[in-house]
Symmetry: C2
Subunit: 257 residues, 2 copies
Amino acid sequence: MDRGLAYGDGVFRTMAVSNGKPEFWLKHMAKLTADCAALGIPAPDAAALADDARQLLQGESQAVLKIIVTRGLGGRGYKPPDPATPTRIVMRAHWPAYRPEMATEGVAVRLCDTRLGLQPRLAGVKHLNRLEQVLARDEWSDPAIAEGLMRDSDGRVIEGVMSNVFMVKDGEVMTPDLTRCGVAGVMRGLIAESARVVDLTLSELRGADELFLTNSLIGLWPVRQLDGQAYAVGPVTQRWAASLAKLRATSRDEFPA
Amino acid sequence: MDRGLAYGDGVFRTMAVSNGKPEFWLKHMAKLTADCAALGIPAPDAAALADDARQLLQGESQAVLKIIVTRGLGGRGYKPPDPATPTRIVMRAHWPAYRPEMATEGVAVRLCDTRLGLQPRLAGVKHLNRLEQVLARDEWSDPAIAEGLMRDSDGRVIEGVMSNVFMVKDGEVMTPDLTRCGVAGVMRGLIAESARVVDLTLSELRGADELFLTNSLIGLWPVRQLDGQAYAVGPVTQRWAASLAKLRATSRDEFPA
């Protein structure tokens, strides 16, 4: 009966756990709170979530921590209950088997046919309505392809199925505007502060000097190939990869002891 | 861990139960099968669903029957498991307290600000990604407003938050095209066979002689007011209301004994 299942009425976070601690805990909590606010869901108590996480992560070194917050039970049909009593779910999963060379040598990606519909009211939010990503990810099964790039219904390049995308041109770092659709990840936030946020056509993307992808688990993957077109793992990409790696390590201290 | 919660990776049906039997069982099963196919989910066995329903409806006269089918567990992130082992959930709920005059005298509706994103791959499908409806329904709490009308991101009138919409102009029945977005309900299907499927602007809608809404629970509600503009409960609306009422009664015989 939970509205999370009935309507996808909720949000989630996926966090890397290393050395037994979630990375970027405070940033993830801030994003969770902001995403809850976007849906009008009262955000759960961060201290309670930290307790849940600590309990789940006992004796773990490297893992994935996932938090789901739904609007909970009730309401009349689509009408949200007021006040809502949110459901919080905290889960631990195995660390995915990413090969180390994906981060160093880069990955091959493809362009997806499935488009992202425009929905400014949900843009940027990591909510539970993810069928567009499911359809896009189902377009290929070749394990040599690590990720797919998605465009919106007007043709702008927006993001990867499970990652944010960055391009470098003449030394400048650019990343797509996510005010119409897309998911604004924590890793993206770290780089976007010093990047130009743009509308990006496919031909602009193809003309990039460097391309890379980010999310909380992979950190940064250079793109070495997009549908057959090759890209170098360039200096800007390498600098950001090194910066993110350092930031990830430091960020473990954010987790409340 | 179910993908229905994680991604809204599934579909659902909402059926009226009268005289202890679900209405339009075969049409709902056909739509469920088609919607599952649209997502690549193996459709559950209709005989098993009928068994579930019979069990839940013992001793019930008027109720709501809801069926959720998700892709079940598994997969790697967004990538669907292959083969999938779907989850089926069959639920009974109380009949909603709709006042009888809503069907005879009509209802007041409003125009929603929340737009429907364009997503041809999911258009028509009653899937579990329903945040647009949740946001739209949350726009008003005045109980005198029974429904809200939604436009797509390009401004075309598509549907009600929980219903399909029809307009009558010079005796002709028209209903919006649902190939870009929207949910094609079973009631809509009954009328759409003899209606013209069109792209509908808001000003065309405002110029209608008659307006009405349909879904499996309400059957047909005439619209007597749209944001202050009054409409008559006209002859075409009344004819369709009478036809649907008869069809609903007959359709109970479709349910396997």
